[in-house]
């Protein structure tokens, strides 16, 4: 049994209380959501928060709902709930695609939207999905709230703009009627983190790509996205040819590292292959009416 270093524990019953507890205890306090990233790090003593503020009673942060032109995901919504959401399935199949290959059912039953984004693991699949879709992150502190574009949310690997006494409460995704989306991931074994993964959406107009978003996981892409590739694809005909050049641009733009999952050139090649596959599948979904 791996045991963490000693810590204190509070269970917050409201967002206000959670924020207040975090503020009172300063930088050594950490919120805990699903615990599937934080607890393993604590057990290995790579993380040693002196106090945990448990968010699991904040059930009012657990939802997937349409709000005007947005889909809102509460920070405490579990992976499994995203996978099961009809609303998401109707608008963005990329969520189901991704959730099917994130970890295993045990992790998906506990891990949350907020935890995934705040963890900022370079291989976090949801980060790539939300970046691809041009989502926004809603934050709360005692001073009030703010909204940050998902692509500006990350300062680097495992680093986000979240201040010590700030909570993520919601993630918002713009609704794009008729768009198609998809997620493609290659891992060493089901349940493993990505070697490389690509999420995307495309909106078509008269056979051309009116809008698109491309998100990348595990390959060192700034903000988990590939803006050059997107720029290149916008306005182009929705053909294999265009997807191929966008895929090449995405591959050129990322900065994968060689590690146990494979050498950098392999990962780059995967980005090319997976971007092309994801775009192809997203376009097909768009042509079939969307999602």
């Amino acid at each position: 049994m791996q045991v963490p270093a000693p810590f204190e524990y509070d269970r917050a019953s409201s967002v206000e209380e959670a924020v207040a507890l975090l503020e009172r205890h300063g930088a050594e306090a950490r919120p805990i959501a699903g615990g599937h990233s934080l607890l393993p790090m604590m057990k290995l003593r790579l993380a040693r928060p002196e106090r945990l503020v448990d968010l699991n009673d904040l059930t009012d942060l657990s939802y997937v709902r349409a709000e005007g032109e947005w889909i809102a995901l509460g920070a405490m919504t579990r992976h499994a709930e995203l996978a099961a959401s009809d609303l998401l399935a109707r608008h963005y199949k990329v969520f189901q695609d991704a959730e099917r290959v994130i970890a295993d059912p045990v992790v998906r039953n506990r891990g949350t939207v907020g935890g995934s984004l705040c963890q900022g693991d370079p291989a976090e699949d949801l980060c790539a999905v939300v970046a691809a879709l041009g989502g926004q992150v809603v934050l709360r502190s005692s001073g009030g709230g703010r909204v940050v574009a998902a692509r500006d949310f990350y300062l680097g690997p495992y680093e986000t703009v979240v201040a010590p006494a700030e909570l993520v409460t919601e993630v918002r995704i713009p609704i794009r009627p008729g768009s198609g989306s998809a997620y493609e991931k290659v891992e060493r074994r089901p349940g493993d983190w990505a070697i490389a993964a690509v999420g995307c959406f495309v909106t078509l107009a008269e056979g051309s790509v009116a809008d698109c978003g491309i998100g990348l996981a595990a390959v060192g892409a700034n903000g988990y996205c590939a803006p050059q590739a997107e720029a290149q694809l916008r306005g182009q005909p929705a053909t294999e040819e265009s997807f191929r050049s966008a895929a090449e641009a995405a591959a050129a733009s990322c900065r994968p590292q060689s590690d146990q999952r494979g050498p950098a050139d392999y990962k780059r090649d995967l980005v090319r292959e997976l971007t092309q596959r994801a775009l192809r599948r997203a376009a097909a979904r768009a042509m079939a009416g969307g999602a």
Binding site: V3, P6, L44, P190, G191, Q260, G262, Y266
Partner: protein, 811 residues
């Protein structure tokens, strides 16, 4: 062929003999009522934790334990210096080497044991580890086994008097000159280097021990995760000078062993020392990372194979050189005279003219151990070598690998067959088993589908330059045919530290006809409590539910060397049959006395002795049991009761074999491989409980898929183990496994009383080459002849590009 057709059924619905029945042990496991080591809590029990080295190789300058000792819940802090005083700083390994219990001079692998804290609870023990200050002076490590013998390589074992290099042993088998002659005259010679990477057993339950030294009686009781409780008892006596009659080892329920729980680890010894020092029971249970980084690994064989053949596909000779990485201490578990285990079986299942192998063992700055994981005593490595070499030859000759095997398998009339290293294969009908497997797989149809698939891939634009073009996948078909030697072993050849490998067994039939069978072997999930009860049922007609199998406690069972190397059924299974027959013989005399006839007038019907030609005059085994304990006057010299004991010394190993066929789907764009089908036809002789045998095969096949595709304990160039968690050391899941397609042929062993051969490791041995051969076969359009395991997506992608990686070291 079915062996179960005529078996009568007991009142509980179980076969009185061989056949499928649910495992007796499942009730308690399924209800959460198992009793594993960590479930055991003794009054006053303390908890231990081990401080481990962060370096692969470093001199210890100083250790300061003052702050840890001042922790309010700490009861003792033990260092190597203290152990030196007790003469316990070093312990003998199973391979005539020594291993540090706690490091005194140097640390020699990352994760090596440096200090031991005993505290009131596990959390405090772990916290106190951080209060120990160790100053290290880092030394250059030996990480690459291939450079361990270079001049100027750092000497790891300077603790050994006069040691100037990292060489452990040279060992050879076969006839070198005869082999060289065959090679010189052969039409075709092909060579291939291959690594069987270091892998880990990774049992679900990690290793641990609770030691209780009673200061008043001097009795040591140790509850340990051990596959070999009796061997441990003797070792404790020899190592620590403890009187053996006051040492009791209890092996409770075990959550998987796979060879990981054969040896004695420093933690076990430290629990004993902790108990001696504190006077209280001390529990030590390692965590997952400790298990992966410090306990017995398996394999780590760097092999160079050469195969000689005639142009028309007659295999003539095999020549092998192996560099064996044994880590920092030679702690390999194997019979004493066998430094390379049973690698002798490398000529495999083939009719060769000559064969020779040479194995050199070296020290590296890695965890010690070896041969764990369905250990099979290196049969796993040998089978992988020969089965890969046969495929390499098929590639060279442009011949179908099934046809090449068909032409070279040993023929039934050659058995018993003495192979080219002198081992006597007991029985086999290899060609038949291969044909059964090919038939079951629909082999020629598979080959046709494969050709179609390749044509589609080419038509869609696939080529060596554009592997992923067109999005078509490629099919691969891999075959392996393996022969194992299991059931160690005959006393005249085999011992471990001087202890012969014969197994004791005792059977007591109580007055009411219920029985207890006491065994030395220790189950870790193999279903002993069921299989051995069925053996007694088969021999005596006592229903299996009326036979209690007792094992895992040295005070309550006869001596024997334990469960590993698929030896339980070949050795203790035979013992159970023989001891039952002794009871049966005695029952005959008692029945004769009761029926007032001569024993010669009686004949045996399952469960009863009856008068020949007069079946109304009969005594059941249950009636006889009561008579044996009663007042019946017995013939001169016949004692009462219905008990017997035996020590079974196997006359030879048994040689199970099988034909495996694997079908994979490979995505050449991403390198991802999925096992689509796996056909496993095993011949392990008669199957006592076919369901349990199939379960063993299922598990072994999953193991094999894991080793072939994802498992490896790897190190960076500084000697850091980078596979120390299950996030990095990947184990296969059900999603990686197809629905296994099993088959059987039955060729009994002529020398085993039941004809049974042992099957625990068959699938782990046989499946990795089948999977690898399938992947390499899928890569045929790229001209790939070999790539080392694990064949991860990256490794496959690199192999397609002609530059597969070494899989022992990550840069």
């Amino acid at each position: 062929m079915s062996t179960t057709a005529e078996v009568p059924v007991s009142p509980a619905g179980n076969p009185i003999g061989f056949g499928r029945m649910l495992r007796k042990e499942d009730q308690r496991f399924l209800r959460g009522q198992g009793n594993y080591l960590d479930d055991i809590k003794l009054p006053g029990m303390l908890h231990g934790a081990i401080l481990r080295s962060p370096y692969a190789h470093a001199r210890i300058v100083s250790i300061d334990t003052a702050a840890a000792e001042a922790h309010p819940k700490v009861k003792a802090v033990i260092t190597g210096k203290m152990l030196e005083g007790l003469k316990l700083a070093w312990m003998p390994t199973l391979s005539q080497d020594v291993q540090a219990v706690l490091a005194t001079d140097k640390v020699r692998f990352q994760g090596q044991e440096v200090a031991f804290v005993v505290a009131e609870d596990r959390y405090s023990a772990r916290d106190a580890l951080e209060l120990i200050q160790v100053e290290y002076d880092p030394l250059p490590p030996v990480v690459d086994a291939r450079r361990a013998l270079e001049d100027g390589a750092p000497v790891i074992r300077d603790d050994i008097e006069g040691k100037r290099d990292n060489h452990i042993f040279d060992w050879e088998a076969g006839d070198r000159e005869a082999t060289d002659r065959v090679f010189a005259g052969a039409d075709v010679v092909v060579a291939q280097d291959m690594l069987y990477p270091r892998v880990h057993p990774a049992p679900m339950e990690t290793c641990g021990s609770i030691a209780h030294m009673d200061r008043v009686t001097g009795q040591l009781t140790a509850w340990s995760t051990t596959q070999a409780p009796h061997a441990h008892r003797t070792l404790y006596a020899l190592v620590a000078g403890l009187p053996e009659h006051k040492v009791r080892i209890i092996s409770p329920d075990i959550g998987g062993g796979f060879g990981n729980k054969v040896g004695i680890y420093p933690g076990y010894v430290l629990a004993v020392v902790g108990s001696i020092v504190t006077g209280r029971p001390v529990k030590w249970v390692e965590d997952r990372s400790e298990n992966l980084t410090s306990t017995s690994f398996a394999r780590d064989y760097h092999m160079h194979g050469e195969i000689a053949a005639s142009r028309d596909g007659k295999i003539r000779g095999l020549r092998v050189k192996v560099l064996a990485d044994h880590g920092a201490f030679n702690g390999t578990a194997q019979p004493t005279k066998f430094p390379a285990g049973f690698f002798h079986i490398f000529p495999g299942s083939y009719d060769l003219e000559a064969a020779h192998c040479q194995v050199t063992g070296v020290y590296t700055n890695k965890a010690p151990g070896g041969v764990a994981y369905a250990c099979s005593f290196r049969v796993t490595e040998a089978v992988y070598l020969v089965e890969r070499m046969v495929d390499v030859l098929a590639d060279e000759l442009g011949m179908d690998p099934a046809e090449l095997r068909r032409r070279n398998l040993l023929r039934p009339e050659q058995f018993p067959y003495t192979n080219k290293t002198g081992w006597v294969y007991d029985s086999g009908n290899y060609g038949h088993t291969l044909e059964v497997a090919l038939e079951k797989a629909g082999y020629s149809e598979l080959r046709r589908q494969q050709e179609e698939g390749r044509a589609r891939w080419r038509a869609a634009g696939g080529s060596p330059e554009k592997p992923g073009a067109g999005g078509q996948h490629l099919m691969g078909i891999g075959i392996s045919f393996f022969t194992e030697g299991v059931g160690a072993g005959p006393k005249k050849h085999m011992d471990i530290l001087g202890l012969g490998m014969a197994d004791g067994c005792e059977l007591r039939v109580h007055p009411t006809g219920k029985a207890q069978l006491r065994l030395s072997v220790q189950t870790q999930g193999q279903g002993h409590e069921t299989t051995f009860a069925q053996i007694v049922a088969h021999e005596l007609g006592i229903p299996p539910e009326d036979v209690e199998v007792i094992h895992g406690d040295t005070d309550n069972t006869p001596f024997g060397l334990g469960t590993y190397g698929s030896r339980s059924t070949p050795v203790s299974g035979a013992a159970a049959a023989v001891v039952s027959r002794r009871v049966k013989d005695k029952a005959r005399i008692i029945a004769a006395a009761a029926l007032e006839c001569s024993p010669d007038d009686l004949e045996w019907e399952l469960g009863r002795w009856q008068v020949k030609g007069d079946p109304d005059k009969v005594k059941t085994i249950q009636e006889i049991a009561m008579l044996a304990h009663g007042t019946l006057e017995l013939p001169e010299g016949v004692e009462g009761h219905l008990d017997a004991s035996v020590v079974y010394d196997p006359p030879n190993l048994t040689y199970p074999y099988g034909a495996y066929i694997c079908v994979v789907d490979l995505d050449p764009a991403t390198g991802r491989v999925q096992v689509e089908r796996f056909i496993a036809v095993d011949d392990c002789g008669p199957r006592i409980n076919p369901m349990i045998v199939e379960g063993q095969v299922h598990g072994g096949l999953a193991d094999g898929v894991g080793m072939a595709l994802m498992e490896a304990i790897q190190f960076d160039s500084s000697g850091n183990c980078v596979s120390g968690s299950l996030m990095e050391y990947l184990l296969p899941t059900s999603l990686d496994c197809p629905s296994w397609e099993l088959g059987e042929t039955v060729t009994p062993s002529p020398h085993h009383p039941l004809g049974a051969k042992g099957v625990g490791e068959s699938a782990t041995v046989g499946s990795p080459p089948a999977v690898v051969n399938a992947v390499i076969d899928a890569l045929e359009p790229f001209g790939v002849r070999h790539a080392d395991m694990p064949l991860t997506p990256a490794q496959v992608w690199l192999a397609i590009r002609g530059r597969p990686l070494r899989t022992d070291i990550v840069e």
